[in-house]
């Protein structure tokens, strides 16, 4: 129940505040998701979705930093 799945926002329907939602593509499976908690989201963004609700917009820059750090592992000791 903690699991949130990443997906890409295809479109936005502003049903008005509480009903703001959009279609999110989870790698070939598309589902409508509530976007109330990610008002800043734009089409094309990646969001983390849990129980039908987007709980965060994925920070692409942070993801890139993490992957870069991981790529550097192995050269160093600890």
């Amino acid at each position: 129940m903690c699991l949130a799945i990443p997906g890409q926002v295809l479109d936005l329907h502003d049903g008005g505040g509480l009903f703001a939602r959009g279609r999110v593509d989870f790698g070939g499976v598309v589902r409508e998701v509530s976007l109330i908690c990610t008002p800043e989201v734009a089409v094309g963004d990646w969001v983390l979705v849990h129980a039908g609700m987007a709980i965060a917009v994925v920070d692409a820059a942070a993801a890139a930093r993490t992957l870069a750090e991981l790529a550097r592992l192995g050269g160093e000791g600890a």
């Binding site: 129940m1 903690c2 009903f19 908690c37 983390l48 129980a51 709980i55 994925v58 920070d59 192995g74």
Partner: protein, 362 residues
């Protein structure tokens, strides 16, 4: 952005090597998230780690910590002819004191599996003749969706929607574990998606008071090992800091919109945790302004006293004191088909993870 990057075997092995090169003595780390427990066991990360590093599993399964009395309330509601009980799928086989929701459905109860509490609101809108109750179980990750469901129902003027509230918070459970005089846990991996919603602030007091490193950690194998590595680096350096190893999702301040939504609808309440007892301010209950949406109130439900646990050692398992496959009933008198307690049937239960990924034998 794909999950594949965070499952890459080469990266996993590099992290394992880095961990091996970091530790100079034995350390015990705890994760408090059932999703992380299952990810660790499915990928076999505990077996890849050097013997010096032990991972124990905490009370990270909100289904598992829901008291028997609350399950019985849900079953009672499902037995009412006017009620449609909506629930996440893995609540259906959790044993109450006599039976479970799956049996209630087989006996004619209208029990429906939903993926989101918002689906339950939609059902209530489509079926005005039914009293739709959403069984709200979960940690802070799920609270925004439950809060949104209540606000939507209110905005739509629905009189046939209510919540059976059983939501819990992680920090009080972590405090209980740290308070135990014989606590052997050196460091914690904090649940990444709980922190995505709530931010990191609630963990700072725990770090300060108990002097343990707490590292916010994600769910894929690479994320989990990254969290483990950062935690071990702190321990080897004698540090105790709050650190974020899941920055792509969790920000220091969390998600303000989600927190505002949760804070509007819910307040902290005392809650009874199966296996841990009653913890003050450890649950989320509906604020007075939303009392109309409280199923317990609407249906006059009484919370029965929690019966003695019998043979089930869920309490010990949930506190990380007993590894599931070392429980005497594991795989014999307790199986997913005939469980003694919740951890063996919940999709996030530690016992279920051991049974599924390690088999019946230890």
């Amino acid at each position: 952005m794909s999950s594949a990057d965070y499952r890459d075997p080469a990266t996993v092995h590099r992290l394992i090597d880095a961990i091996g090169g970091t530790v100079t003595r034995s350390w015990t780390l705890m994760e408090i998230c059932g999703g992380q427990t299952h990810a660790i066991l499915r990928a076999g990360l505990d077996r890849l780690l050097p013997p010096a590093v032990t991972l124990v599993h905490g009370p990270g399964c909100p289904v598992c910590v829901t008291p028997v009395g609350v399950i019985d309330q849900a079953i009672a509601l499902a037995g009412r002819p006017d009620v449609t009980l909506c629930s996440f799928g893995d609540m259906l086989r959790v044993p109450g004191s006599r039976t479970d929701l799956l049996a209630a459905r087989a006996s004619g109860g209208d029990v429906r599996v939903v993926y989101s509490p918002l689906d339950a609101v939609a059902i209530a809108g489509r079926e005005p003749g039914r009293q739709v109750v959403f069984f709200a179980v979960g940690f802070e990750t799920t609270a925004p969706a439950a809060a949104a469901a209540v606000r939507q129902a209110q905005a739509l003027g629905l009189t046939n929607f209510s919540l059976l509230c059983a939501q819990v918070r992680v920090p009080p459970a972590m405090a209980v574990i740290l308070e135990a005089p014989d606590c052997r846990i050196h460091g914690f991996l904090a649940a990444g998606h709980v922190c995505t919603v709530m931010g990191l602030a609630e963990y700072a007091p725990l770090v300060a008071r108990y002097r343990v490193p707490i590292v916010v950690t994600g769910f894929e194998p690479v994320d989990i090992l990254t969290g483990v590595l950062h935690c071990l680096r702190q321990l080897e350096a004698g540090q105790a800091r709050l650190e974020n190893a899941y920055e792509r999702a969790a920000r220091t301040q969390g998600n303000p919109a989600a927190q505002a939504l949760v804070g509007e609808v819910f307040e902290f309440v005392a809650r009874d945790w199966r296996g841990l007892g009653e913890l003050p301010e450890s649950g989320l209950g509906l604020r007075a302004a939303y009392a109309d949406f409280d199923a317990a109130r609407r249906f006059g439900l009484v919370e029965a006293p929690t019966p003695a646990p019998g043979e089930c050692l869920a309490g010990e398992v949930l506190q990380g004191r007993l590894r599931p496959d070392r429980c005497p009933a594991f795989g014999s008198r307790c199986t997913p088909q005939r469980p003694l307690g919740a951890p063996m049937v919940s999709s996030e239960g530690a016992c279920a993870a051991y049974y599924r990924y390690r088999g019946q034998a230890a």
